[in-house]
Amino acid sequence: MVNITINGKTLEVAEGTTVLRAAQAAGIDIPTLCDHPHLTPYGGCRLCLVEVEGARTLQPSCTLPVSNNMVIKTDTKKVLDARKFVLTLLFSERNHFCPYCQVTGGDCELQNAAYHEGMTHWPLSPNYQPYPMDASHPYIIMENNRCILCRRCVRACGELVGNYTLGFEERGANSILVADTGIPLGESSCISCGTCVQVCPTGALIDRWSAYRGKETQVESTKTICVGCSLACGINVLTRNNSLVRIEGDWDAKLNEGVICEIGRFTPMAEKCDRIATPMIKKNGTLKAATWDEALAVIASQIKSSPKDVAALVSSRQPVETISRFAQLFNNKLGADMVTSTEEGQYTRSLAAYAKDQKKSFECNLEDLKSADSVMILEEDLSKDHQVAGFFIKRVLASNVKLLVVDSQENGLGKFANKYLKLSKGSRSEALLALSAAIAKLGIAKGKTKATASELKSLAEKTGLTSDDYLDAAYVIASSEHPVILYKDGADIESIHAIAELINAKMISVKGNANSLASSLLGVEKALNLQGKKVLFVANGDEELSQKSIKEFEKIPFKAVQSAYASSLTSIADVVLPSTDWLEQEGHYISAEGVVNLAKRSLIPAEDLLSPFETLGRLADKLGVKLDDEWTKLVHNRVSPVELSK
């Protein structure tokens, strides 16, 4: 610890702390623009200049580490004049006219900083040099004329997302923000996560969907989780007059710390789906509007006639409450045997079986992935699904963390990997054996391997690769202290576990939908078999189902579907029930790493919409079935592959 004095106040702070952070912790306000609490200090804007006793010039507090007995002043005339001068120069540089900018009126940190200093005008007029503007991206507008060169976006793109798309071209006043080598953002390596937009202090990077739809002071914000996948990233849903304005990553969320992906931030905005507004019953081949009572009566009578012939599916994107109630109604009370989720447990079934065999949890959590020093990704493309887990890996690759990608399909993270094993199709089991043989050959196995060193060559050839490939791969993961193996599902889980034990690795599966794990824990994970089924009930909510499964449903005589949106699924249904979407309902989710989260409601649904949870309650009433909702106990009935936590 060192002692410092700021504005006459003596403080004890940890060594290595910057003057800015020390001041902030002591409640002393120093205005900044380029600083961001989640990014490394850059010292670009010079707004945070302070007077340090003994220093020849004013010092940027954001990059200046404290030293013992340092005396700092943040409120002298010299400092205040410097702040105004810095702002004067920034305003004179580019087009910072407020009346025609999206972020004006509270959302612009540059404008707020000027107000803070009481600036009524710009002492220097702008030089009116136009800079390029890039509107090639579907979601993001890059407006260099509004840029103050703080490089928050560049740092966020590299440090938080690990994508390194954004950078600067030219020098000094000519500096311009570019994507890749100066190509249009829409054609660049940008993965549309929008983190740059979220950190931009001015209107240089704005999201075209939410632009001009409401300032931060005019919107309501709901802190909740994203249900786009099983990671459960923390988000803030901004709404105005009960309509969605924007989704932002929650900086306070422990898991994602502000970062989210395209699916979390932009997809919900871009989706253009027809909402189903009212229950409908098919009459003479066309769906006709009906009341809830009529629609549920039709479904109930079909179910009642032979409960055994009912196949029931619930979306694994629904809250645990819904899945639990669903299983209780169809499985326990009605005795239907074909009760499963829309993803049919394809990612969790083997995991659950293995956990049962082992009688204990065997997976780690995502914090372990963040602190890993080598990662092996097995047949999961984190550039497409569960993208934020990919960010955790990509962003540390520059700091010497090693990556091995093993996949029989094209994997988007392959290009970032130290070794990328492209397997021939269907050779995953052999690849895992070959890898353990390679570990044996390197002589670094901690325990007995499933395959011996002598088998390496033949095993490698079966996967279309060479022994050297596997030796390289083994070296990538085995030469580190905290390796983590990440995979999508439980296929070959025994072999994966065996490798993990050889190299002392932790392991984690990312599973599928937001409630993949909960569905599994509640036993809703059977493979779908529609043989002899006469009635189908799909509590789908807002999930988009594959055409393949919809085709399979077609052969069932009576089909009832609850869905938020019109789709080819609802068009084949005999009874369609409307549904709330994820923003209009509340409930719990159990993430891939076993964390139980509450997803809060941020929008009030239209009058005639019911959540699948409420609908199941009404259907149970119609069927004369009594339900209790005890999911918090029920999820502990089976051994979970990963320990559950709050």
Partner: protein, 180 residues
């Protein structure tokens, strides 16, 4: 000593700031108790008194030689000059054209505009004012007080006029300081 004399005029602006001035509604009577309103675009007198006024208020930026003359005349005839609204303070919306050349702007305005009939023609009568780059008032004449806003809010305008009318220099901060 009589009431301070106030004169105003508008240059390259949209008259919105003067409309916002009228939005002080009945409080204009209170202002008139404090000051003597002389020439304004909305009164009969069109030029500030040759003998001078105490406060001159100018809305709009300077976008041609005529604006420049008006600004210089006001400056020479007033003791305290107020830049009234974003265009006078910063250049404002008209200054968007500074990112293009004057020729490009004129061509767009008189020839390429969708509503132009026939081939269009850029006016070139020597009697007309000569267009220039759009400048903030302070780039042409010294300014004593800046009242930003697009437009400034009526309450702020009332506060500023009331303060000036009572011989005080207003201070803009917090709720009264807005640039848009």
């Amino acid at each position: 000593m009589g009431k301070p004399k106030v004169a105003s005029d508008w240059l390259a602006g949209c008259a919105g700031c003067h409309m916002s001035l009228l939005d002080i509604d009945e409080r204009i009577a209170q202002v008139l108790d404090l000051v003597e309103l002389r020439s304004t675009p909305i009164t009969d007198m069109k030029h500030p008194d040759k003998s001078g006024v105490d406060v001159g208020i100018l809305e709009g930026g300077i976008n041609n030689s005529a604006n420049e003359e008006v600004a210089k005349m006001m400056r020479s005839r007033c003791k305290l000059l107020v830049a009234f609204g974003d265009c006078a303070v910063f250049g404002g919306v008209p200054a968007m054209r500074n990112f293009f050349t004057i020729e490009e702007s004129l061509r767009r305005a008189y020839i390429e505009t969708e509503s132009t009939d026939g081939s269009g023609k850029i006016p070139s009568d020597p009697e007309l004012a000569v267009p220039t780059k759009v400048r903030a008032l302070q780039d042409v004449v010294p300014v004593d007080f800046f009242l930003p806003g697009c437009p400034p809010e009526a309450d702020t305008i009332f506060y500023v006029l009331a303060e000036l009318g009572q011989g005080r220099i207003p201070e803009l901060k917090g709720n009264t300081l807005h640039w848009q």
